[in-house]
């Protein structure tokens, strides 16, 4: 039940620079951190366009955001998490929590997509606000806890994880 309780926990950890564990080492996860910021920017642009009822622009920005977010989730779910689970032997813990939060975020992204189609700014911004809160606390947990754990665990036996991860998140 770790996952459920952690997901219900709400506000995540300190922003990255304020609560970074000591395990910097080789950072396989650095591109994922960068992608968090990129997704934030795309989200903010789509939200601003929806608020100003610029639906053509909103649709384009949102599509890009959605594709980038999906690539990010995919990289984690198909490459990083399995590699970490295999190397650490932890399969029901933190990665499970993150997967469940991905599902929750996908549900909100769906709601936003419906709002783009119907040009419903209130629905788009309402689901967006919820997604933003969820996304930020999720990113903080990943950047402060899970990524350092992954970097530490996978630094020894990473194999081709780094390349495969990059290929998925860069949609190659």
């Amino acid at each position: 039940m770790t996952g459920v309780k952690a997901a219900a926990a709400g506000f995540g950890n300190n922003p990255p620079s304020l609560l970074r564990t000591k395990a910097a080492m080789t950072s396989i996860t650095e591109p994922l951190r960068e992608q968090h910021k990129h997704c934030d920017d795309l989200f903010a642009a789509a939200e601003e366009a929806a608020q100003s009822a610029h639906w053509v622009e909103c649709k384009a920005q949102f599509a890009e955001f959605r594709s980038e977010l999906e690539a990010h989730f995919s990289g984690e779910e198909t490459v990083l998490f399995p590699a970490f689970e295999q190397a650490s032997g932890m399969s029901g813990g933190p990665t499970q929590v993150m997967r469940m939060e991905h599902t929750q975020m996908r549900g909100l992204v769906e709601q936003m997509a419906g709002a783009v189609d119907t040009h419903d700014a209130a629905e788009f911004c309402g689901a967006g606000e919820t997604l933003l809160m969820l996304m930020q606390q999720h990113n903080m947990k990943e950047e402060n806890i899970l990524y350092p754990m992954c970097d530490q665990t996978l630094a020894v036996a990473s194999g081709d994880v780094e390349e495969r991860l990059k290929a998925v998140i860069e949609k190659k």
Partner: protein
């Protein structure tokens, strides 16, 4: 040791909510008190009405909101394991309500038994609360500026409570104590070492999250709570002898640290990547501006003695800090915390992400905006009432109305949560 991801200790939703829903009622009471007493409530810092008003806001509105928020944040944001949160909330929440009401009644009636009972209740409730939450914050393996701020804040609350209880007993039993020095130190710890430190620690988490700002600079994030603690400790040294000037130096240093935090916050807000603004954004920015206004007022009072020596000068500062800084910042934060916790707990109960009402469907944005504007107007009118005493009653009415609207908005959010929860149970 690394912190783990299994923040299993997130409390039931009723734990933070009982505190957060009680807090605005003390604000309503503060407004009604102003309406009842009129200009005499703001005549001087030591007027019984002013002391009652101050403690309705500090030990009522602020303490309820802060204790409730901490029970949520300590396990979730700092990985601290709070022992039996439901039991702690069940005991501490009612005890703090009775303690605060007893203290306010004591100031208004000047009856010694009420002072003593308030002191005993506060000592017991906060002693218990601080033991439990303090252990959680000390034992967490998480590190960082927020954890440091939480530790210092709890120490600050302990100091504030010990000094407050001493003052109440001393006053009630007419003991020979240096009451003015003790009251000054109590104020520095309460506003600086406890409240401002907690505000900074929580800002480090929430400001980047709400507005997509860069993180607070690391050195500043550690320096501000440390400086606030040092300033409060320095002010306490005045008890060692005839050193009242140390109290002034300590208060000034605490204010300088708060100014550093406020300027950084405003600078971060300007660099935010999310362009959309909302009431939480405006209330927080107003709170930061109130810190700068407090500093500017202190400088003016220092250089223009005719102003600084006026009995209403400390009242002006008190209103700026209590209503301008803390009520506005808390008011803004609860509008994010309550709907988001509602949404998360509905997920926990099995509602799918697509089916749960989103945050803006929990509390209507138009209702939030109306209340936020009313609160800002009330603070403005309250400041004006320091200069024009006839405005005290209208300010009180506006304040009561604004806090009542805040309560109504929070209840509306909880009603949505209950309605959807019941629908799931029925299905």
């Amino acid at each position: 040791m690394q912190p783990t991801l299994s923040f299993e200790q997130a409390p039931p939703i009723s734990v933070p909510f009982r505190f957060l829903l009680t807090a605005p009622l003390f604000g309503v009471a503060a407004g009604l008190l102003l309406l009842w007493l009129g200009p005499e409530a703001l005549a001087s810092r030591w007027a019984p009405g002013a002391l009652a008003l101050t403690h309705l806001i500090t030990t009522g509105f602020m303490l309820q909101a802060m204790c409730g928020a901490l029970l949520q944040l300590v396990p979730v944001a700092a990985g601290g394991n709070v022992w039996r949160p439901r039991l702690v909330a069940g005991l501490v929440h009612p005890a703090l309500i009775v303690a605060a009401l007893s203290l306010v009644a004591a100031f208004l009636s000047m009856r010694p038994p009420l002072f003593v009972s308030a002191a005993v209740l506060f000592a017991a409730a906060l002693g218990f609360y601080l033991s439990v939450v303090g252990i959680a914050v000390l034992r967490t393996s998480a590190q960082g500026a927020t954890v440091l701020a939480l530790r210092i804040a709890l120490l600050g609350l302990a100091a504030t409570a010990v000094l407050g209880a001493t003052l109440a007993v001393g006053f009630g039993l007419r003991l020979e104590l240096p009451l003015i020095e003790l009251a000054n130190i109590h104020t520095v710890w309460g506003l600086g070492g406890w409240s401002m430190v907690l505000l900074t620690g929580i800002s480090y988490l929430l400001v980047p999250m709400f507005q997509l700002t860069p993180a607070y600079p690391l050195r500043m994030a550690f320096a501000v709570p440390t400086a606030l603690f040092a300033a409060s400790a320095l002010a306490s040294l005045q008890l060692a002898g005839n050193l009242r000037w140390l109290g002034e130096v300590g208060a000034f240093l605490a204010l300088a640290a708060a100014v550093g935090y406020a300027i950084t916050s405003l600078w971060l807000q300007r660099r935010r990547r999310r362009k959309l603004t909302d009431s939480t954004f405006h209330l927080f920015r107003s709170a930061m501006i109130a810190i700068l206004l407090t500093f500017a007022s202190c400088v003016a009072f220092e250089f223009v003695p005719a102003l600084g020596e006026h009995p209403r000068a400390p009242v002006w500062l008190g209103i700026l800090v209590l209503f301008g800084v803390f009520t506005l910042a808390i008011n803004g934060a609860v509008y994010k915390i309550v709907p988001f916790l509602n949404w998360l707990h509905l997920q926990r109960r099995g509602v799918t992400a697509g089916a749960a009402p989103n945050m803006k469907q929990m509390i209507a944005e138009s209702a939030i905006r109306r209340q936020a504007r009313l609160q800002l107007a009330a603070v403005g009118l309250l400041l004006a009432a320091v200069l024009v005493p006839e405005l005290t009653r209208p300010a009180g009415a506006l304040l009561a109305a604004s806090f009542a609207l805040l309560e109504a908005n929070l209840i509306a959010g909880v009603k949505v949560y209950l309605r959807v929860s019941r629908a799931i149970q029925a299905a």
